[in-house]
């Protein structure tokens, strides 16, 4: 090998794997997240096939044994939350958008940023390596309640359980580093003139999500250390026969786990806010009110966690308190959704693909939101807890968040990321196929859940009430709809990679948007701005009276 080739290889490595450029790191997060989404989606395919067509050979996998089924659902949950929703929504969009939208050249700490991705990649590899160890991957549900998760002779996957825990802990470290970097960059490195209320909502939301994550994850980091010691050096933190308490883990987990819902929700809301205002050509209805409700949601998310534990053996008196706080949090969330709908009023709505995704987010998320009331009310939760009703409920929140809003974001910023437009026809085919199939997957599951169908069960043969043919038909319907939804994703993948080379050149500002990222070339060069911008106004100045253009960019002087 001659020196020239070696040098070129070193350069490619430097540029794509060792770069400190926030845009490269964003792409690293995006593509890692997409790869993990394919893995998580494949798991969903396998276990849905087992449920839809019990005990058949699953094409591409084989027979699903009980242990494998448990591992598949555990990994599906863990991957989709920690290795898809978080890296794509917060890390990929946060990394790409924050420096561009606040008008600076990079993150405040580029090398910490790079370290964050490297730790994240390591965590993903540790998780996937658990498929290769003796006993296979952890199968004790993504909540990992001890003693099941703590004792190898209970879960039968002692190495897998430890690898899962280490992977999750590393992932937390990665997002602590990343999130603190986002927060500091947004607080300190804004363009001159960009005041607190001139920051685009998506940046606000990503930063607030990072802060909520930072403040809620600490106790679970402590819990992870305790559980790790229970697994490896025989301490008894969660062992009642030695003075510990298994409920402690549940509390530590959900003290993080519930804010985590809002950690992924807020960036999705932010993305939708950007898309909504651009394609409705409208100023955000009550920008400040949206922010106030966000803060309220952020604070309240810390006081509702035990509604995941109503029947878990907590003191029943506490359930009343957490019921009250849970219904309380519906107040700011409703207000936020209403404000988004009100933004449509008086607009001029263009139904391009990103806008379709954004509207679908609101429409579907509302279903997820209202079904949450059934579960937050302690009385009905007695019956619905751990049934498919709750599966359907949180998929009606997480799919809009991690799939629909992400597609809104990708289709919206794709021109900026890669300099070319996505194909609009393929985009619409993908949209309708995904959203229609999504509803057919989960509406049947609401019904089976209401009929008492419990979750995390690989076969209903043991239960007379659940193995009725009527319920099985619903499960099969759901599985077939999942196959349809998954197959439509190939349309997206084709569109994504085809448009990289053959899409229409995008130009600087294809959507005629006001925020700063649309003032730089697509894709933005290293260092982003040729001349660092100055900001003169808020982010959503559309249809300002007395102007020829219907949009008024943030960086244009009066």
């Amino acid at each position: 090998m001659n020196a020239h080739v070696e040098h070129a290889e070193a350069e490619i490595f430097q540029k794509y794997f060792w770069s400190t450029d926030h845009k490269v790191i964003a792409m690293q997060y995006l593509f890692t997240g997409m790869a993990m989404a394919l893995i998580g989606g494949f798991f969903a395919y396998v276990f849905r096939m087992q449920l839809g067509f019990p005990n058949q050979h699953v094409p591409g996998y084989g027979l699903v044994t009980p242990g494998r089924y448990n591992a598949l659902v555990t990994m599906h949950g863990s991957i989709m939350i920690f290795w898809v929703a978080m890296p794509v929504l917060i890390a990929a969009f946060g990394n790409f958008l924050i420096p561009l939208m606040v008008g600076c050249d990079d993150m405040a700490f580029p090398r910490i940023n790079r370290l964050s991705y490297q730790i994240f990649l390591l965590s993903a590899l540790v998780l996937l390596s658990s498929f290769l160890v003796k006993g296979g991957p952890f199968g004790g549900a993504w909540t990992a309640y001890p003693p099941l998760s703590a004792v190898g002779s209970y879960n039968l996957t002692p190495i897998g359980a430890t690898l899962w825990l280490v992977a999750v802990a590393l992932e937390f470290v990665a997002f602590l580093l990343g999130g603190i970097n986002f927060t500091v960059t947004t607080m300190n490195s804004r363009a001159p003139g960009m005041k607190m209320y001139d920051i685009p909502l998506v940046i606000w939301m990503i930063v607030l999500a990072s802060v909520i994550f930072m403040a809620s994850v600490g106790p679970l980091v402590a819990g992870a250390i305790m559980l790790l010691f229970d697994q490896t050096v025989s301490t008894g933190f969660f062992d009642p026969s030695r003075g510990g308490d298994p409920l402690l883990w549940q509390h530590l987990f959900w003290f993080f786990g519930h804010p985590e819902v809002y950690v992924v929700l807020l960036p999705a809301m932010g993305i939708v806010a950007e898309v909504l205002t651009v394609f409705a050509r409208k100023k955000m209805f009550g920008y400040k009110t949206v922010l106030y409700t966000t803060w309220a949601v952020g604070f309240l998310s810390f006081v509702v966690w035990a509604h995941h534990q109503f029947v878990a053996g907590i003191d029943p008196r506490m359930a009343n308190i957490f019921s009250v706080t849970t219904l309380l949090i519906s107040v700011p969330v409703t207000e936020m959704v209403f404000l988004y709908i009100a933004t449509l009023y008086g607009g001029s709505i263009h139904l391009d693909t990103p806008m379709l995704w954004a509207l679908a987010f609101i429409a579907e998320f509302m279903i997820g939101g209202v079904t949450g009331i059934f579960l937050g009310s302690s009385g009905t939760d007695i019956y619905l807890h751990d049934t498919y009703f709750i599966i359907a409920h949180f998929h009606y929140t997480f799919v809009p968040i991690a799939i629909i809003a992400v597609f809104a974001g990708i289709t919206f910023w794709y021109p900026k990321m890669f300099g070319r437009m996505l194909n609009e026809t393929l985009g619409k085919i993908h949209f309708w196929g995904t959203v229609a199939a999504f509803n057919v997957i989960f509406i049947p599951l609401f019904i089976t859940g209401t009929a008492g169908d419990q979750r995390r069960v690989y076969s209903y043969a043991q239960f007379a009430e659940l193995s009725r043919p009527a319920l099985q038909h619903l499960r099969t319907t759901s599985t077939i709809a999942l196959l349809v939804m998954l197959s439509f994703q190939f349309v997206f993948l084709f569109n994504f990679f085809w448009s990289l080379r053959s899409g229409k050149p995008a130009g600087t500002n294809p959507w005629r948007s006001t925020t700063l990222e649309w003032t730089v070339p697509s894709p933005p060069p290293h260092g982003n701005f040729a001349v660092l911008p100055t900001v003169y106004r808020g982010p959503y100045e559309y249809g300002v009276p007395g102007r020829a253009d219907d949009f008024f960019p943030q960086n244009v002087p009066d």
């Binding site: 448990n70 099941l148 009550g286 107040v331 001029s348 139904l351 009310s377 807890h385 009929a451």
Partner: protein
């Protein structure tokens, strides 16, 4: 509404079903209203040539009313739902009505076992009846259960009773149910408990007093004469009387 999907077989099943319907009506109304509003706005304000977009900040009082008034109504709705939820919860989980019979329910990987009093009506005596996977109870009798786990977290769920309670190792959790419909119902474990989670099924058999007495008799060894049975609890009195009738 829920009964179309699954029988209601305990006294409190209906209160949960009614709460479910109350919530479904309230949130269903708001869901339809909000979705309808959204689609109407998308249709009404779709892009048309020559119609400029309006400049609205969201601070205009006459427009803010469209947000704030529904919002206040929603707070009222929340309070109504909350009142119902707390009432149902209080009656099921916080209050223990006087028990006719006390049974012990023990979860372990991966089976439910039950301990119930024999003819003497007292738990933890020599004539206790221990069963695995099947609990025989008498209709219209208030049962108190003590829930234990031997190893990991399990969840004792009887969907037909609308009953669910996790069993934790190291804790004894007390609850109650009063079956009011004869039949055989599923017991599920609804908390992930390891590789055999799906096999951890049980049956709860709700019997008439006569059938229950016969069952008790079959499982008591040696059969205890009615006259010798000490400390008969009021409810067991019924079944003992029935038992005597069967013997005659």
């Amino acid at each position: 509404m829920l009964e179309r999907y699954l029988t209601a077989a305990s006294t409190y099943a209906h209160s949960i079903d009614h709460l479910f319907i109350l919530i479904a009506l309230v949130v269903g109304f708001w869901l339809i209203a909000a979705e309808g509003m959204m689609f109407a706005l998308v249709f009404k304000f779709r892009a048309k040539d020559g119609r400029p977009t309006q400049y609205i900040t969201g601070e205009e009082p006459q427009l803010k009313r469209w947000i704030s008034i529904p919002h206040y109504i929603i707070i009222v709705c929340d309070i109504v739902i909350l009142a119902g939820a707390v009432m149902v919860w209080y009656n099921i989980k916080q209050v223990l009505p006087p028990a006719d019979v006390t049974v012990r329910v023990i979860g372990q990987q991966w089976a439910w076992s039950f301990q119930q009093p024999g003819p003497d009506g007292v738990l933890d005596t020599a004539d206790d009846i221990r069963t695995v996977g099947e609990l025989h109870v008498m209709v219209n009798t208030t049962y108190r259960f003590e829930l234990l786990s031997r190893d990991v977290v399990h969840s004792f769920a009887v969907p037909a009773f609308r009953l669910k309670q996790d069993a934790l190792p190291g804790r004894t959790i007390t609850g109650w149910f009063r079956p009011n419909r004869v039949g055989t119902y599923d017991i599920q474990c609804t908390q992930m408990c390891g590789i055999g989670h799906a096999m951890m099924a049980g049956r709860i058999v709700v019997e008439t007093p006569q059938d229950h007495a016969a069952w008790l008799l079959r499982n008591t060894d040696p059969p205890v004469a009615v006259e010798q049975a000490p400390a008969v609890s009021p409810a067991m009195g019924d079944s003992l009387a029935a038992m005597a009738a069967v013997r005659r």
